[in-house]
């Protein structure tokens, strides 16, 4: 027992342990996982990459779809199609992400023959790149769909609200008075102003997407950082947990920074 303690440095006073930890972190040494006895750094970074393989396309797709549907919903407000769209979006927003994943899992496996979980089918060798890629896509399909459906609701609602606000602004009347046609009106005047809150929302949503990622990865056994965090918590694997936590925090902060840098390019009123 003392050996183990000495090995993990647990026989030092707590604050010394923490300083050592911070020092190690900066040099890339995240400690050793209690559970797998492998360096946490080796576990955490590949896991983050796997999560990003899902999160980045999911975010891009849900923003694009959100903007599209939100704009249509604002433009055709009050019509039957809009009510149906907004209603569906609201209902989606009220579903827990993991349940959405469960439903998609059941339907996907039963009706589409998609794989039940994991990231790859183990039997494929490295030679056949195309087959490996299509295998990856097949495994990605359901978790990606789950994440997109979970994220898209909020983007639709915010885009719709933002565009509705913009449509009541004075400069929209001015533009219409200038004889600008509908399409240019919507894009140059409507969209370019309405999209600004979306950027802020994207930044805020990064936290939410990690929450969605944890649920999705659990359901589909996707080896990402969400699954790693969850398993670390359950097995009280504190080094792994700290490593995962740190990496998630840095990722979220970085993403927020990028959004902050992007914003001044879209809104000339804000000084970079």
């Amino acid at each position: 027992m003392e050996n183990l303690e000495a090995q993990f440095g647990l026989n030092q006073p707590l604050w010394v342990q923490y300083i050592i930890y911070l020092k190690n972190t900066v040099t890339g040494n995240f400690g050793i996982s209690y559970q797998t006895r492998t360096p946490v750094g080796d576990m955490v970074f590949p896991a983050l990459m796997n999560t990003l393989i899902l999160l980045l396309p999911a975010t891009a797709i849900s923003i694009a779809v959100g903007i599209g549907i939100g704009m249509i919903a604002a433009w055709r407000r009050g019509t039957k199609e809009e009510v149906a769209m907004s209603g569906t979006t609201l209902v989606l927003y009220c579903m827990p992400t993991f349940w959405l994943g469960l439903l998609l899992l059941v339907m996907g496996v039963l009706y589409l023959g998609l794989p039940v979980g994991g990231m790859f089918t183990i039997s494929f060798g490295p030679e056949n790149a195309f087959a490996r890629f299509s295998d990856l896509l097949q495994h990605m399909a359901l978790p990606l769909a789950t994440l997109v459906l979970g994220l898209v609701g909020q983007y639709v609602l915010v885009m719709k609200g933002s565009l509705l606000d913009v449509l009541t602004e004075d400069y929209m009347v001015t533009a219409r008075a200038k004889g600008i046609r509908r399409r240019k009106l919507m894009w140059d005047h409507g969209f370019r102003n309405a999209v600004l809150p979306m950027v802020t929302l994207m930044a805020l949503n990064i936290g939410l997407s990690f929450g969605g990622a944890i649920q999705t990865e659990t359901i589909f056994s996707w080896p990402g950082i969400g699954l790693l965090t969850y398993r670390a918590i359950l097995s009280r694997d504190y080094p792994a947990l700290q490593g995962a936590f740190l990496v998630i925090a840095v990722a979220v902060i970085l993403a927020n920074l990028i959004a902050d840098l992007l914003y001044p390019f879209l809104d000339p009123r804000v000084v970079a």
């Binding site: 004075d170 219409r176 008075a177 200038k178 004889g179 046609r181 000339p268 009123r269």
Partner: protein
């Protein structure tokens, strides 16, 4: 009908939808605009002046509806035109300067882009001469042409208003509607902008509809004036005739409430009461509740809009009494 008239508004009715029923913002308004003439449209806030302007260009919001009347531009009824046809006429033939340029300019586009947009949409200027044309416009409104690449938030209120004026003139329209162009500005800037409008009108031979609540501005700039009250025109005519000898109690009240420099009065006279609720049932003459000449017939029978002298019309049963006092 005068051969010089290029636009006639005939019995225009525009109502707003509200939970309490229809708000009759404009209820039977008729007037005509002549070439190279500056016409003032005067009235208190909420009397329907802006609604008239928006209706003329079919720019009403979805909460409002044009319920009747015609707007004849060179003989064609604009109210019957499709949105596409209107897009061709707007700005190219009739342009508008909005009040409070605070939010009338798109915050994410530079001023140059917004003016160029109008020019290119109506193909009044070739793409490679746009900057030159904008420079000329800026000089005409006494703005530094170097500022054309600025964004609206980088300009002061007075500058933004000048941009609006430059933009309104960009396609050489026949008629310019100026809706309270100086209300949001301080007094000194007001004076400059008004002088600018006056000189531009003469130079470019424009017809102008100047919408305002400020009678002194009208006195300075306008050739003709129409006074609006609660959605209807109560008096109209040549400026000197109306100001020297008003025939409607409301006009008389307005003129009397202007403090004059040479008088010794220390009390300001005013018109008692307030504008009626336009959603409810109204007396036949809408000025009834505030009128010092009112009698029973005013509540029951709508006063006809009749000619009292050439070019001078009013809607009052007792205009002769008003004339005498």
């Amino acid at each position: 009908m005068n051969a010089n008239e290029i636009l006639q508004v005939d019995g225009l009715k525009s109502y707003y939808r509200s939970p309490e029923g229809h708000l009759k913002a404009v209820d039977g308004v008729s007037f005509a605009i002549e070439k190279k003439q500056v016409m003032g449209l005067v009235g208190e806030s909420g009397c329907g002046k802006t609604t008239v302007a928006l209706s003329m260009m079919k720019l009403l919001p979805t909460s409002a509806e044009i319920m009747g009347g015609r707007v004849l531009f060179h003989g064609e009824d604009l109210l019957k035109k499709t949105e596409d046809e209107m897009a061709n006429i707007r700005w190219r033939k009739i342009s508008i300067i909005f009040q409070g340029a605070l939010n009338s300019l798109n915050p994410v586009l530079s001023v140059r882009e917004q003016i160029a947009e109008a020019m290119l949409a109506h193909k009044t200027v070739r793409a490679d001469s746009v900057d030159e044309a904008i420079d000329r416009l800026f000089n005409a409104v006494r703005l530094d042409p170097n500022r054309k690449n600025n964004y609206p938030h980088e300009l002061s209120g007075g500058m933004k208003q000048r941009v609006m004026i430059a933009m309104a003139l960009a396609c050489n329209p026949e008629i310019v509607i100026a809706d309270e162009p100086t209300t949001a500005l301080d007094v000194i800037v007001q004076r400059r902008v008004l002088e600018l409008i006056r000189s531009l009108c003469k130079e470019l031979e424009l017809a102008v509809v100047l919408i305002t609540h400020d009678l002194s501005v009208v006195a300075e700039l306008c050739d003709k004036v129409a006074i609006m009250y609660a959605g209807k025109i109560v008096e109209s005519g040549e400026i000197y005739n109306v100001f020297e000898s008003p025939k409607h109690p409301y006009t008389q009240g307005l003129l009397r409430s202007l403090p004059k420099m040479k008088e010794k009065k220390t009390e300001i006279s005013y018109i008692p009461g307030s504008v009626p609720d336009l959603t409810g049932t109204l007396p036949a003459c809408r000025f009834y509740s505030r009128c010092p000449y009112a009698q029973k017939i005013c509540a029951e029978k709508e006063p006809p809009f009749e000619v009292v002298s050439p070019g001078h019309q009013t809607a009052c049963h007792f205009w002769k009494e008003v004339e005498q006092s």
